[in-house]
Subunit: 367 residues, 2 copies
């Protein structure tokens, strides 16, 4: 193992390290200092477990090990599955000192984190994100949760892990489509807060799609640092943290309208960011060349740049009105003042919003 | 309204006041400073709501009010019901600024608190406990949760309310059996930490069973103060807070074995405290006269002093082995060194434990 890069998430007595590098999954000393009891339960899914479960278990000799393997997919992020995990832990007499390990993508991380937050009123957990999206997004900030039929992530808790182990080797087995979905969130950090990183991404996007190790480590590290800065400033999302939701207001609506799991979260966010950019331009905030740069970068990253045609304007509005960020019934949007600077506003002209919702493949284009 | 007595629960930026007194339910100014948004949802049950819901709603004019009424009883403390509440809030577009009000006993408080802890990853809530048990127990400490088939309160979160309004008038409609159940927890505070209060209770127990207002206010205030002291010292129950579970290790096993709801929680705790006292005596820690005083006080308080005969020794042991306090598989007991001083230990001779489990109506008696 090369020495891992460490990003610290500073949250007082809930601070924790993120280890980033290759071949980390088999490094016992990255895990054991963060496991306080003798019981460990690994929560994973049926796509990731065949690839990495035995490897991880081999590293954790000496612990009382248990595993809980869910079917893959966003559609599994339900309270019913959470209840199954509780009951499996209870029937094996897993106690307050248990450490849960989330081995998988964002869905597994969100669910294992929610179980950790609520099993016996809270136990420890470690994140081992195996998708790019989970490594750059779910590994920082402690958001955990499940979906309800009326909305994504509507139930959950803020709950921090003991540590995060982001092994870039696990990205080797990631389908292209999911690598791209992760790049959507990487691009997001450039857009909301870091022009220089956005420029670096434009220069390195092909390396990233080709899974160049050094490029991936840099992208993951920078993304985690950007997110950690924001989360440290606003752990419970009472202010600036909401800017991390760039693209998510539209994106969540797309995911809900198409049925959870039919669009990848990152794909929906990519379209959502482009819609936010388009709306920012219509509101006179972002210039049209920047919208074009964003669209171009998303495209080269292998991401969709045309929203699904089947969603009607009123569907969008109805779904967006359920967003967790809303205050007093009005939709709060994360928009762009320029590349590298997000802003949060509920003050959006409804005609311009409708234009964005109807722009389809002509988004960001003067017509 | 007489000016309410206020007990402060000191937990840094999660500190909150408990207001205790008569006629508090109709005092708007006890509520409105603790409601930040315009939406309020009252969660109650079908026994309490007919008595107090309209009264409370009349005080909250000007807010967007919603109510969610559950059937009464411990058997309702399920994840399914929690999911119903989530979905009702979502379908009415209740946002992050919503304040939930728990109007009812411990079951309602635990459930509303758990919804508050997890709906949209956390919203505000106010406790309006209407049973004596809830006023002296659930109103301090932020424990929220639901039951699973394999154990009581196995799922939950530590989550503090904005304030607690304990109106002693609501005790007028409380059945005798439930008043007694509340007195079990009141007696507990004397037993674990306050000999003087135990002596006061011996002198005033008849007044309390006759619902003398001043006696009730003193008992509630002292109980809340005792609990607040312990919770302030150990919010997440890593140490001393576990002593609040005096009687609960046995009590939870009784509740589970008899089926949730067939024994009141306070009744099971009363028997559990007597069993803990009996075991403490067998271990040479408590003298037999003290066991007799405890038994006598519980009896005058209208509480059962003989465990259900149908529970076998092995059932007890199996159920107690699932207790949340356990470490490395061994049962941790809260015992009494003397009246007014609890101790926590896993070091219990199994023969003596079996004697306690089999003592039945001869508990605390040399045979």
């Amino acid at each position: 193992m090369a020495d891992p890069i460490t990003v610290s998430v500073e949250l007082g007595n809930r601070s924790y390290p993120i280890f980033i590098g290759s071949d980390l999954l088999t490094e016992r000393e990255l895990f054991t200092p963060y496991i306080k009891g003798s019981q460990v339960c690994i929560i994973s899914n049926d796509v990731v477990a065949p690839l990495y479960l035995e490897k991880l278990k081999a590293v954790l000799t000496g612990f009382e090990l248990k595993e809980f393997i869910l079917p893959d997919g966003e559609a599994e992020k339900t309270l019913d599955n959470i209840a199954h995990i509780y009951d499996a832990l209870l029937s094996d007499r897993f106690e307050r000192n248990v450490t849960l390990i989330a081995l998988g993508g964002g869905v597994i991380g969100d669910m294992a984190g929610f179980v950790a937050a609520t099993y016996l009123r809270g136990v420890n957990f470690i994140q081992v994100p195996t998708s790019l999206l989970a490594q750059v997004d779910s590994s920082v900030g402690g958001k955990t949760g499940v979906n309800r039929p009326l909305g994504k992530n509507m139930v959950g808790a803020f709950y921090q892990p003991q540590c995060v182990v982001a092994d870039t080797n696990t990205l080797n087995t990631l389908p292209n489509k999911e690598l791209s979905a992760g790049l959507a969130e990487v691009i997001k950090y450039g857009l909301i807060n870091n022009l220089e990183f956005f420029n670096w991404l434009e220069a390195n996007i092909v390396n990233l799609t080709q899974r160049n190790k050094d490029s991936l480590v840099h992208a993951i590290k920078t993304s985690c640092e950007e997110k950690a800065k924001i989360v440290t400033a606003d752990e419970k999302e009472t202010g600036i943290r909401a800017t991390l939701n760039l693209g998510h207001t539209f994106g969540h609506a797309i995911e809900a309208a198409m049925g959870y799991g039919s669009w990848l979260h990152g794909e929906a966010v990519a379209i959502g960011m482009l819609m936010a950019a388009d709306l920012s331009w219509r509101l006179g905030k972002l210039n049209i060349e920047d919208v074009a740069s964003i669209k171009a970068l998303l495209k080269v990253a292998g991401l969709p740049v045309v929203p699904p045609e089947s969603i009607t304007k009123s569907e969008y509005l109805s779904l967006m009105s359920r967003d967790k960020k809303n205050v007093k019934g009005s939709i709060r949007f994360v928009l762009l003042e320029k590349i590298g600077k997000a802003l949060l506003t509920a003050d959006v002209d409804s005609n311009l919003l409708e234009q964005t919702l109807q722009a389809g493949r002509t988004m960001g284009e003067t017509s």
